[in-house]
């Protein structure tokens, strides 16, 4: 007779095959930094924890919550309204605004923060502009927590906009018609139908925004707002206790996951399937000129605030600091940035695809559950991931040096640490979820029938994947590539810590100028980041609209 343990193990491992090994390997490979950090948590915080908990945390948590709350409200307002209007109404410049509304994503939020400081500054662009009309509105002070919430909202609302727009585009007209014949007007359609239905899409966007808000350091620091992340940096660099920093980061993670859980629980039974409805697409409403103008204004506002205004300010700065620009070296930075971002995005998409396949083809539920660790990286602050990558790669290098030294009496150098490989690896860890989620979602939409048809025609899983799934997934893969590409172009803290010698990215170039109080000179690299982000975003939007 077998023991229960034996039976349990037997059951758990009965279907353990090559795919399971593959899934486990990828998960472990991607999970190393997360696991490394998780282990650190159990070591507890350092001694400065008590000081931080007593003097700083209550304030920092308060600020972070306030910021998170206000950003949620503002970005939902900007994102949902513009998405709804752009899908539902005909107005001036609609086609252009549709993609202009996404572009704020191409600007790192700390750069938007600097640009706005320049606009509202003493003797800033706004005063200059109003001065021409002999107007003086005094000085609007944006550098406070409300101003910060505004900055973060206008630079991050596209996450909500994109999610909601995609959702609205797939709604069928008959829902609106049904509401109409039941006696409801346009406002009621929006508040009673569209808004509640769009909740999952909205929440998805808001969670991404919250993670960015809670991870933000640059903008908050410049605007003099101390947030939870300030605490992380302070305990790391001010009190020199990385363990406390990691502990705080872990707390942050717990808070984020707590929020997600609460939301999911609250949604409860209402988990309705969000799928394309049958029936005709939403009709676009035509309206009077006056109404068209006001809709255009409402829709153009976020795009103007989040993209046009900061870009104008940066162009102005770039123009006045033009002579100082060292073009040859800047060009090299551009090429390096593009190369790194493209390579990282490619690796990320490749890893996401392998993880997805390993998950689908392996038959063990617990392996699939475990593989979720792989996509946790997006919720972890970049600086913390950097440590999680840096330390293990260093251990590995030291171990390798020891082995080689003993066995071959050779002295070799660090193999991974401080190289492009470690940097790319860290990007993959951090941004895997960005690539994984759209690909997984798109793959779910492929009809099972197609795959089964292919299999019944004698093609194996892999060959079905190559011949049927891959061509169908192409738009999603490209989309994922572009999203990661843009994220890597903007990435700062992780790059700062892990980048190798004589590799310079545009984000770092801009940051170094800005942190050295040469904001004006930071304008050119910032504009280049934006330029490299804008083209893919436009392309991505065409991809989304076409489907």
């Amino acid at each position: 007779m077998r023991s229960p343990l034996e039976r349990y193990i037997k059951k758990r491992f009965r279907d353990f095959d090559g795919f399971s090994v593959w899934a486990v390997l990828i998960t472990v490979f991607i999970g190393i930094p997360t696991i490394f950090i998780a282990v650190k948590i159990f070591e507890g915080p350092g001694e400065s924890w008590y000081h931080i908990a007593e003097y700083l945390l209550p304030k920092y948590i308060g600020n972070s919550l306030y910021l998170a709350g206000l950003c949620t409200v503002l970005s939902v307002l900007f994102g949902v309204l513009s998405a709804w209007f752009s899908v539902r109404y005909e107005f001036y410049g609609r086609r252009m605004l549709e993609w202009l509304l996404i572009l704020p994503l191409a600007i790192p939020s700390y750069i938007t923060a600097y640009a706005y400081a320049g606009i509202f500054d003493y003797g800033g662009s706004l005063n200059l502009l109003l001065g021409w009309f002999s107007l003086d509105i005094g000085r609007i002070d944006l550098m406070n927590i409300n101003g910060l919430a505004f900055i973060l909202s206008i630079s991050l609302y596209p996450y909500v906009y994109v999610a909601c727009r995609a959702f609205f585009l797939h709604r069928s007209q008959s829902l609106i018609d049904a509401s109409k014949v039941l006696g409801k007007g346009e406002l009621q359609h929006f508040f009673k139908l569209i808004l509640p239905m769009a909740r999952p899409a909205m929440v998805g966007g808001v969670i991404l925004i919250l993670m960015e808000v809670l991870n933000d350091y640059g903008a908050a620091k410049y605007y003099g707002v101390n947030t939870f992340t300030t605490g992380i940096f302070k305990s790391w660099f001010g009190y020199r206790e990385p363990e406390t920093a990691v502990y705080l980061a872990a707390l942050l993670l717990v808070i984020i996951f707590g929020l997600i859980l609460i939301e999911q629980k609250q949604r409860g039974a209402r988990k309705f399937a969000v799928q394309g409805e049958s029936g005709r697409q939403l009709q676009r409403l035509k309206s009077s000129t006056a109404k068209k103008i006001s809709i255009t204004t409402v829709v153009a506002l976020p795009a103007f605030l989040g993209f046009v205004a900061p870009v104008i300010q940066l162009v102005y700065w770039a123009a006045i600091s033009y002579v100082k620009i060292d073009w040859p070296s800047l060009l090299q930075v551009v090429l390096q940035s593009l190369g790194i971002a493209a390579f990282a995005a490619f690796s990320c998409v490749l890893t996401a695809m392998s993880l997805l396949l390993a998950k689908t083809w392996n038959r063990l539920e617990w392996v699939n559950q475990m593989s979720k660790i792989g996509i946790l990286g997006y919720a972890i602050p970049g600086a913390v991931i950097a440590v999680g990558v840096y330390m293990p790669s260093l251990y590995f290098d030291k171990w390798l040096i020891g082995i080689v030294g003993k066995t071959f009496s050779l002295k070799i150098n660090l193999l991974l640490t401080g190289t492009v490989i470690a940097l790319i690896y860290a990007y993959v860890v951090r941004f895997l979820a960005v690539a994984f989620n759209p690909i997984a979602a798109s793959r779910e939409n492929i009809q099972l029938g197609l795959i089964q048809a292919s299999q019944s025609l004698g093609k194996g899983a892999f060959s079905t994947f190559l011949k049927i799934e891959l061509p169908l997934l192409k738009p999603a893969l490209l989309g994922a590539f572009i999203l990661v590409f843009i994220d890597v172009m903007k990435e700062l803290p992780l790059t700062l810590i892990l980048k190798p010698y004589d590799v310079q990215t545009l984000a770092i170039e801009a940051y170094q100028f800005a942190s050295d109080e040469r904001v004006i000179e930071a304008a050119m690299p910032s504009l280049l980041i934006i330029a490299t982000g804008v083209l893919p975003v436009v392309f991505l939007n065409r991809l989304v609209s076409r489907n």
Binding site: S172, S174, L175, D177, A178, S179, K180, V181, L182, G183, K184, G185, K192, L193, P196, M197, R199, A269, R270, F272, A273, E277, S278, G279
Partner: protein, 333 residues
């Protein structure tokens, strides 16, 4: 008159598609109607015009003698009190069954009771707390009906209400919906492409083709005296009888007419008014009847019959009153 439609026009795509063309129609209160037509015949557009979901290009619609649509006036859909059951039901996925039914009457104080009444009317008591994705297709259909009935509309439009259901459920639900509508006494219009549905459920049928009303009559009238092959074709499979074939039966042909016979109006070996010799090529059983391919001269006819001829050389015949005669389509009417 419950509903009066005068010379209604509606086009889409900058007048490239004439969805509704010069349509006039009068519907009486308390009766059940069916709009019958192929897809693209304009029947759904007409229904949407009646509901106020579209605006006509020209013409008027009156509800209870009151103007609700014209070229210059449009009473919004939400003010018309006309119920609409959509083809895919359009149940709001984020609301419970009860909330779906309550949606159109949310301002009324007795809404709870109405919801309860509606649920019992459609025999789905106790389903109020469920969500649309948790119930079956037939149940969703009835919920959609209840939702449309809850505000007590003067008229209810049902767009292809049974098209998503398999044939067993279809008949069952047809009866049920009919009973429910009878109980409430509301005027109803079924929009359908299925003649069987139309005949089973309506007092009068309006047949549409290419945006025009072709014929409006009771089911019997429509069956007995269809005005065009299109109308007749809805109910039966028709066999066109070209002049050469007709003359082999000994029938005097008018060159300007089109002759058709329903495929089950042929008889074997019996004596009927017009008959000729034929050869049986093949036969197969389809349900209660046989489909039999017979050769008459150069022509092969597929006729339907309850019995199968026991030899291959037979005589085949038909009666004059079963011959459907229409003007030729290319001739002026």
């Amino acid at each position: 008159m419950l509903l009066t439609i005068n010379h209604l026009y509606k086009s889409f795509n900058r007048e490239k598609v004439q969805a509704v063309y010069d349509t006039s129609l009068q519907l009486e209160a308390g009766k059940t109607y069916a709009f019958l037509g192929e897809s693209g015949s304009g029947k759904t557009t007409l229904a949407r015009l009646i509901a106020g979901l579209e605006r006509p290009d020209r013409g008027e619609i009156y509800l209870n003698e009151r103007l609700i649509s014209s070229e210059s006036y449009h009473l919004p859909a939400e003010k018309r009190a006309i119920g609409f059951v959509f083809q895919h039901y359009a149940l709001f996925p984020h609301l419970t069954i009860a909330k779906n039914i309550e949606y159109g009457i949310s301002a009324r104080p007795d809404k709870r009771k109405v919801v309860e009444d509606m649920l019992s009317l459609i025999s789905l008591e106790g389903y109020g707390k469920r969500y649309p994705h948790e119930i079956s297709g037939g149940q969703q259909q009835r919920i959609a009906l209840a939702r449309a009935l809850a505000p007590k509309p003067r008229l209810i439009l049902l767009d292809e209400p049974f098209s998503n259901l398999d044939s067993n459920l279809r008949q069952e639900l047809r009866t049920e919906v009919f009973t429910i509508l009878q109980k409430t006494g509301v005027g109803a219009i079924f929009i359908t492409h299925n003649s069987e549905d139309a005949m089973a459920i309506s007092d009068e049928i309006a047949v549409f083709k290419d945006g025009r009303l072709v014929q409006k009559a009771t089911p019997e009238e429509l069956y007995e005296h269809p005005v065009s092959p299109y109308v007749a074709g809805f109910f039966d499979t028709l066999i066109e009888m070209p002049p050469s074939l007709l003359s082999s039966f000994g029938y005097q042909v008018n060159q300007h007419k089109l002759y058709l016979i329903r495929n089950h109006d042929f008889h074997f070996n019996g004596f009927k008014e017009f008959s000729t010799d034929a050869t049986v090529i093949s036969s197969s059983r389809v349900g209660r009847n046989y489909l039999i391919d017979v050769k008459v001269g150069e022509h092969v006819l597929q006729v339907s019959s309850e019995e199968k001829p026991d030899q291959s050389e037979i005589s085949i015949s038909w009666r004059e009153r079963d011959l459907l005669v229409f003007p030729k389509p290319d001739q002026p009417v």
